[in-house]
């Protein structure tokens, strides 16, 4: 086996990390798990769609609560006409009216008994006359319908305007400040939610990847050839690159569907920093959030050797991250407060909080500060994670039994004595 020249120098940390990252990136990109990763959101959309559809069907099949009317023939006619008129103005806010009974002169009805025995979906019954309507039903229902029945009676008596003036509609292109604030809060929440979902999903993937690698025993070959920091960095950045590919595919597919169904981004109020900057910051904060969490998960991975161990060890971190997300969401609802500032500073909540801030506040300098701070935290966490990874991932062999330890200790003096 005559081989030509040998490499002349060792790889730098970055070059070594690149070798690992390139391998991982290609391997993951062409793996079945990446396909599932890509179509994961499709399943989510499918499940959401199916659940929504079922919900609508259920809602449709559920009978609307009806308001029964039991009055004289004349009054009943007046009430029905009034209901028709008001429904044209108020739409579904007016309860649907059904005739329970047209009473003959002097005839009375027990509305409570009628309600109880009725096979129709009656929620309440209005009796008496339009001058003195009596509403019978559950306390909650009659309280809810009291005003509307009053309006109905007034309309029946002709005390409401006979002709409602036509209101000319003059829509405005830009949202009012109140609308904008509310919508931006919504954008912030959606951004935070997406960021959280993505970071958790990908940090979990990097963890599975590492456990698989430990199972393959390749980790020792890597550890012998390059520094563990490089292995750690390579794995982190490979998954980051994979996630960027995934996000790009999702974004393209999503926007294609979105645009072809006649929607546009203009339907949403632009985030305070503008859409391009919001997306750019989204990418940066996603990267930071992922690197922070990925470092923790990789360090956890170094402690685990089986998928079960990984699940056990990662569960508390997942729960903590969930709490962290809630904390960031809570902080977002209180702009300018100390809580928001704390959420901006805390490394694990900072990316979520700052992305939400980008939706609500146009100032850019806090983002520069936050990114610098997050970079510091990322580098510290990567160092710590890599140190733990290095310390734990290559622990020699299985735990020895007490018996074996005893043998080891007793063998040494015997050996010395013999020598």
């Amino acid at each position: 086996m005559d081989l030509p020249n040998r490499p002349t120098g060792r790889l730098s940390i970055l070059a070594a990390a690149y070798v690992v990252a390139r391998r991982d990136f290609v391997a993951i990109l062409f793996s079945r798990s990446f396909l599932f990763f890509l179509i994961g959101p499709l399943f989510l959309a499918l499940v959401t769609g199916v659940a929504g559809g079922i919900g609508m069907k259920v809602q449709e099949s559920a009978q609307q609560p009806l308001l029964g009317v039991a009055m004289s023939q004349h009054d009943t006619r007046l009430m029905l006409r009034a209901q028709q008129t008001l429904t044209e103005q108020l739409g579904p806010n007016m309860p649907e009216l059904v005739v329970v009974k047209q009473l003959a002169p002097g005839e009375t009805i027990d509305p409570a008994a009628t309600l109880k025995n009725s096979k129709a979906n009656l929620a309440a019954i209005v009796t008496g006359t339009p001058q003195h309507p009596v509403l019978t039903g559950s306390a909650e229902r009659i309280s809810s319908w009291q005003g509307r029945v009053g309006l109905l009676a007034a309309q029946a008596l002709g005390k409401s305007p006979v002709i409602y003036p036509e209101v000319e509609l003059a829509g405005v292109a830009t949202a009012t400040r109140a609308d904008q604030t509310r919508s931006r809060a919504g954008t912030a929440q959606i951004g935070q939610g997406l960021l959280f979902m993505l970071t958790m999903l990908l940090a979990g993937m990097v963890l599975s990847n590492l456990v698989e690698e430990k199972g393959n025993k390749i980790i020792e070959v890597l550890a012998a050839a390059i520094p563990m920091d490089a292995v750690f960095l390579g794995k982190l950045f490979a998954m980051l690159a994979v996630s960027m590919v995934g996000i790009s595919v999702w974004a393209m597919a999503g926007s294609t569907v979105w645009l072809t169904t006649g929607h546009s981004l203009g339907e949403y109020p632009a985030p305070a920093v503008g859409w391009p900057m919001f997306f750019a910051l989204g990418v940066v904060y996603f990267s930071m959030g992922y690197l922070l969490l990925g470092s923790v998960f990789l360090a956890i991975g170094s402690l685990a050797s089986t998928v079960r161990e990984v699940q056990t060890l990662s569960m508390p971190v997942t729960m903590l991250q969930l709490l962290n997300f809630f904390f960031a969401s809570f902080a977002t609802a209180q702009p300018g407060s100390l809580i928001e500032k704390a959420a901006m500073i805390m490394p694990f909540s900072s990316p979520f909080t700052m992305l939400a801030r980008a939706a609500q506040d146009g100032a850019l300098w806090p983002h520069l500060l936050a990114i610098a701070w997050q970079l510091v935290c990322v580098s510290v966490l990567i160092r710590l994670g890599a140190a733990l990874f290095r310390k734990r991932v290559m622990q020699s062999g299985p735990q020895r039994s007490k018996r074996r330890r005893f043998w080891q200790r007793s063998a040494a003096p015997a050996a010395s004595a013999s020598a």
Partner: protein
């Protein structure tokens, strides 16, 4: 058996701050290496000097500390104390490009093609990927595995995958090759092939260091060995010196069963069948020969048998370690 009077061991532990007396350039130099795991001392003050271009064996039972020692030498783990110098560098990763390592627990990425796996292992050592791919294909062809070039590791048998990893260990033409239990799991044919590979590497000036719990491999291949037991190295040096730790055994057959010459036999002489068996005296064989001739013992045969490495191992590491070596439990150290 008294050994101390025969020959002083060449590896008398040196104080950490004393310079080593280096006669030949060393590939590996380690002094006082200690490694503890959870309070258990896996390696306890190991000293090693591996000359460049030699075949060096680390011989000991499983659990003796072989793998931990190798991992420390390669920089996979750091020692708790002691110093190590590999190819002249204190930090082994500084010279990772000149080292090849085949761990005991072999592993490759199952979805990688054979030549890609070799190229990847080379790339980890600084070999450009393109060059590694070309070398990988050439090496597979050269070793009769050309048909497996485009097969994934998953599609290969365990033995073939081991060969691929071996080729990946050597693809960057390292100056120092470290094998951890390289013969375990190999059939006799492949063990022979590996021995040949190790010899050819050494013939080209490559330093080969391997751990084993099989004395025969060490005896056949090694220029020097370190005997390790219970995390300590009671002997490190040339195989001949290890053997010489035990006096050669003399087997004497005489026509006469008794006579004045009997007084010239050493104290440990015992009669078994028609032979007298005893250790070679400090004074050598000549005075005894003279006494036998003058006493007309009638020498029928006389042979001096040098001790084997196994006997040396028993003498150096102790019966318990030797028994553990023979038990061969499949457990990483």
């Amino acid at each position: 058996m008294k050994l101390g009077e025969w020959q002083m061991p060449s590896n008398a532990p040196a104080a950490l701050n004393e310079p080593l007396a280096i006669e030949a350039p060393l590939a590996i130099e380690a002094r006082g290496l200690v490694k503890r795991f959870d309070g258990f001392t896996a390696v306890d003050g190991v000293d090693l000097t591996v000359p460049q271009g030699s075949i060096y064996g680390i011989l000991g039972p499983n659990g003796a500390g072989k793998t931990t020692t190798l991992r420390m030498l390669l920089g996979i783990i750091d020692p708790d104390s002691g110093i190590r110098r590999v190819l002249g560098h204190d930090r082994p990763h500084e010279v990772a490009h000149a080292i090849g390592y085949l761990p005991e627990e072999r592993g490759l990425y199952p979805s990688m093609k054979a030549y890609e796996a070799i190229a990847f292992l080379g790339a980890l050592r600084g070999l450009p990927l393109k060059e590694g791919r070309a070398r990988g294909k050439a090496l597979l062809e050269e070793h009769g595995l050309g048909y497996a070039i485009d097969r994934t590791i998953r599609q290969l048998s365990k033995g073939m995958a081991q060969q691929v990893q071996l080729l990946g260990t050597l693809v960057h033409n390292p100056r120092l090759v470290v094998f951890d239990e390289p013969f375990s799991g190999l059939d006799a044919l492949n063990q022979g092939k590996l021995e040949k590979t190790i010899r050819s590497l050494a013939a080209k000036g490559t330093t080969v260091i391997f751990s084993t719990h099989v004395i025969a491999h060490a005896e056949r291949l090694c220029d020097e060995v370190a005997i390790i037991a219970g995390g300590k190295v009671p002997f490190a040096g040339p195989v001949d010196v290890a053997r010489d730790r035990i006096r050669p055994q003399v087997r004497l057959e005489t026509r006469k069963a008794d006579g004045p010459w009997r007084a010239a036999l050493p104290a440990d002489a015992r009669h078994e069948g028609q032979f007298w068996l005893f250790s070679l005296p400090d004074s050598g064989i000549e005075p005894l020969l003279r006494a036998l001739i003058e006493g007309e013992a009638g020498i029928l045969s006389l042979s001096i048998e040098r001790a084997g490495l196994h006997d040396a191992f028993v003498a150096i590491a102790g019966e318990a370690a030797a028994r553990a070596l023979e038990e061969n439990p499949e457990e990483p150290s």
